[in-house]
Amino acid sequence: MMQLKILVGESDFDPGAEIAALYTGRPEVGAVASFVGLVRDINDGNSVTTLTLEHYPAMTEKSLREIADEAMGRWRLLDVTVIHRVGRLMPQDRIVFVGVASMHRGDAFAACEFIMDYLKTRAPFWKKERTPEGERWVEARGSDDDAAMRWEKQDGK
């Protein structure tokens, strides 16, 4: 049975507990790939004191669910968890968790990275950084578009 858990909110999460939930009691799971994204204290050369995450509440969970569904259609997955925090965060705070359980590692790795790449370019979150020089909206990176584009090329596989 394929499972899916999507959480968006201000609450912190426990990566170890989330990973355990992906395989505990499911002896068909052989592989769990996961990702934790964290607030860094330096971004593009400026020191960051706080990071505020804005989102589009009506769209956020829907968009994460569509990305996870797309992953479940592309690879053989047993379970997917996506958690994204919003609101005010500090350096070293956890921002995002993606965990994927599968029978074999190839599917788990690919799906986990795919979900992060799509989340980065399609899910409606925006970061604003406070630095000693003031506040600024984080600019989107071309490298994130490139990362997401890699998966488009594989549509024909």
Binding site: M59, H84, W126
Partner: protein, 85 residues
Amino acid sequence: MKVKVLYFAKLRELFGMENEELELPGERAHAAAVVDLLRKRGEPWSKALALDAGYRMAVNQTLAGLVTPVQDGDEIAIFPPVTGG
């Protein structure tokens, strides 16, 4: 037809509002019609929503383009490229 338009992040700040209702002629249109109407207001709309300005849109909570159809009651969001994760 009436649509609800939402703004996020830098564009929300620049336009000084979170959302508004817009009245458009006719019963159906493309998302482009919404953008055209906003651009006619002049600065800062015309510049922020110029063709090469790199803004993004969603219609009814799904990523959309200028040719995406819109109709009465739709929710149209306009925002900068996303930066989550």
